[in-house]
């Protein structure tokens, strides 16, 4: 039995009725507990818990048969206690149950297959396999009731989020679902949220004067709002950072010329390009790295 214990297995022993320890190699533990108990008793009431040390057990036994004198008791108590423990175990037979579990772990076959497919390709593996989805679905199958509640919650959640996002379209609080023009606007917002590039109502082509007018109007509106807020002492959000117009920092095509534009079999140089080339020739290194930054990231 002792040999078995040493192995790396999970040994589950049934709770024994008698407080019998078959051996007491754990000598420091009871003493520590004793100290703790004494400290506790000093602080609060004395405890009437029976301490389960080897000495106590032996004392109990000697209470039963008290024909020995005190001095020899002390001597024999240690060996006696060990014996009593083993014998008791045999008599009462609190069987120690050892459950042997092989260290193998259950494997989810479906996850395994998917992960294998993702990992064992010839491509560098993408580690981002979501193992949670299948687990979620498994759980969902387990309890149908939870599923219903979950779906209802989800529905409500979605409705609330939509309301929060689109409430500015609603004119009154009475009708929560937008109708007509507002419904279209709401749909457009949702599309954008899902990843649409631009609004459906964004007009692509229009006369430039009109576009300028629209932009100027937007700017003036914002200015006015800010000015009024400042005058009234209201603190507004910080102005959104201006979109940087990508200044030619894009990755140049492969095999293209590093200067000018190649079209129809001819390399066309703009005036700027020509000026740039000439400047670099004349100025030597004084072109402020204009040529360096070109086409490089």
């Amino acid at each position: 039995m002792i040999g078995k214990r040493k192995r790396d297995i999970s040994a589950v022993s049934r709770p024994k009725k008698g407080g019998n320890r078959e051996e007491s190699p754990v000598a420091p533990e009871p003493s520590a507990q004793d100290k703790l108990r004494k400290f506790f008793e000093a602080q609060f009431q004395p405890l009437d818990v029976k301490a389960r040390t080897a000495e106590d057990e032996s004392e109990v036994e000697f209470d039963d048969d008290d024909e020995y004198d005190g001095d020899s008791q002390e001597e024999e108590s240690g060996s006696e206690s060990e014996w009593s423990g083993l014998e008791e175990e045999k008599e009462n037979a609190p069987v120690e149950v050892v459950e042997y579990q092989a260290p193998s772990r259950p494997t989810g076959d479906i996850i395994d297959k998917r992960a294998r497919k993702a990992f064992m390709t010839s491509k560098p593996p993408s580690f981002d396999i979501d193992l949670t989805t299948t687990e979620l679905s498994k759980k969902a199958v387990d309890d149908e009731e939870d599923k219903d509640v979950e779906s209802l919650n989800l529905k409500n959640d979605l409705a609330l989020q939509r309301l929060l996002k689109e409430s500015h379209l609603l004119e009154s609080a009475s009708d929560l679902a937008p109708t007509g023009k507002n419904r279209h606007k709401a749909l457009d917002l949702r599309m954008q949220e899902l990843g649409a590039k631009s609004s459906l109502y964004h007009q692509k082509n229009m006369p430039s004067s009109m576009r300028k007018g629209i932009k100027a109007k937007a700017v003036s509106k914002e200015d006015k709002r800010r000015r009024e807020a400042r005058e009234n002492g209201i603190i507004l959000e910080k102005p959104a950072p201006k979109k940087q117009i990508s200044g030619g920092r894009r990755e140049r095509g492969v095999g293209g010329p590093s200067i000018g534009k190649f079209a129809g079999g001819t390399l066309n140089l703009s005036k700027r390009d020509v000026a740039h080339v000439q400047a670099s020739r004349r100025g030597g290194g004084k072109s402020r790295g204009r040529g360096k930054t070109r086409g490089r990231r």
Binding site: P103, R105, K123
Partner: protein, 402 residues
């Protein structure tokens, strides 16, 4: 332009491949002398080094090399890295076939990792098929990692530099090292189809925490139960630490190579039997750490030992800290050095920086004209070092037109 510059003079056989790679990338001629001059039996260039030179010649256009009579001195004048375009070396489908001779003791990753470092800067996609009686796909006693680790721990790193398209490493045939660690019979194809002008500047300062471990257990020509046994012990070590541990098993038959039998010229023999394990740990910030153990060519080690060793090796690699594993250090540093003229930063474990090969790499890079590294202690209390590297800004010479 390269002709006017004097050759860079280097000595000893150490860091041989990376010297040649940086020579090809920067276009500088190298003169390497004192290559194993005092070895009584094998002075000069070794077989795998010659093989690498052949490979380099195949993927470049206009390379010239001169090797001295004893092989202890080599002058390499690099050409343009063309990849497997319409060059002379490429066969049908634009695939360069590189045969590794039978006596090779190095794993195929010895060729793959430097080739991958060159591939982003080639003119055309790099497609190389490694065949022949010397291709060892597993990890080797000479310290090379397995092909699986190259695929799972090295190639994903290119993603951080904006290189991710059309990269494949196909293991067509597996092989462990043959008798005495020489030769194999594997077959591996590398497709590196993403060429860039300049890799992106990298700032990698947060190693994160390990979130998953993946691995491949391979057995070649031996029972598949070896795989199961390796996986079992390995998971026994790793599962309490990382629950998300999956190790996949790959079983293949032993490769056949010509036996060179005089009586029966068509005879073939089995070679490269064995098994091994490759593990990759990924952190929450995408840093990869790998470990590789294979059974020794002489055998005599149970798969349980291999599994346990590999798990411990992975833990050791992770414990070295930083954002980069020692095996991937040269690749990362190489790509950062070839990046744009901008300061990239990377956090690296102290032991990895202090390693002999790392310092050798740094010295060689300085010889090649790269600015020195800036080193400072990491701000967190990990004891790591942050290396700041200014890119050369040369990038892909083949892509620089006009």
């Amino acid at each position: 332009m390269a002709t006017s510059q004097p050759p860079i003079r280097l000595t000893s056989h150490k860091n041989f491949v990376y010297r040649l790679v940086f020579s090809a990338l920067t276009g500088r001629t190298v003169h390497i002398s004192q290559i194993r001059p005092s070895s009584p039996t094998n002075p000069g260039l070794a077989q795998h080094e010659i093989s690498f030179l052949r490979l380099l010649e195949a993927v470049t256009n206009g390379s010239q090399m001169e090797i001295s009579y004893t092989g202890t001195i080599i002058v390499f004048k690099p050409g343009l890295i063309t990849g497997s375009g319409s060059g002379a070396g490429a066969s049908s489908g634009g695939v360069i076939r590189h045969e590794i001779p039978a006596g090779c003791t190095r794993g195929v990753s010895y060729f793959l990792i430097p080739l991958c470092l060159m591939a982003p800067f080639s003119k055309a996609p790099m497609k190389v098929l490694f065949t022949g009686p010397g291709v060892i796909t597993s990890s080797t006693p000479t310290g090379d990692m397995s092909v699986d680790s190259v695929r799972t721990a090295i190639l994903p790193l290119f993603n951080q530099f904006g290189i991710f398209n059309n990269i494949e490493l196909r293991v067509l045939k597996r092989s462990n090292p043959g008798p005495n660690g020489r030769g194999g019979g594997g077959e591996v194809q590398l497709v590196f189809g993403h060429q860039v002008r300049l890799p992106k500047t990298l700032h990698l300062m947060n190693a994160g925490r390990i979130k998953r471990v993946r691995g491949v257990a391979y057995s070649v020509g031996v029972s598949a139960s070896n795989n199961a046994r390796m996986i079992d012990t390995c998971r026994g070590v790793l599962n309490p630490l990382v629950p998300d541990t999956y190790i996949f098993s790959d079983v293949s038959s032993a490769p056949l190579v010509p036996a060179n039998d005089r009586n029966n010229p068509s005879a073939k023999k089995k070679i490269g039997l064995g098994f091994g394990l490759s593990l990759v740990a990924e952190s929450s910030t995408g840093c990869l750490f790998s470990a590789d153990v294979a059974c020794p060519p002489s055998g005599g080690q149970p798969p349980e030992d291999i599994g346990k060793q590999c798990a411990y090796q992975l833990l050791e690699t992770i414990s070295k800290g930083g954002c980069v594993a020692p095996a991937a250090f040269a690749t990362m540093i190489g790509l950062m050095t070839m990046g744009s003229e901008d300061v990239g930063r990377i956090q690296v474990g102290r032991d990895i920086v202090g390693d002999e090969s790392s310092i050798q790499l740094a010295r060689d890079l300085v010889k090649f004209g790269a600015p020195g590294w800036g080193l400072r202690d990491a701000s967190d209390d990990s004891g790591d070092v942050i290396i700041s590297i200014v890119g050369r800004g040369i990038g892909n010479v083949g892509r620089k037109v006009a």
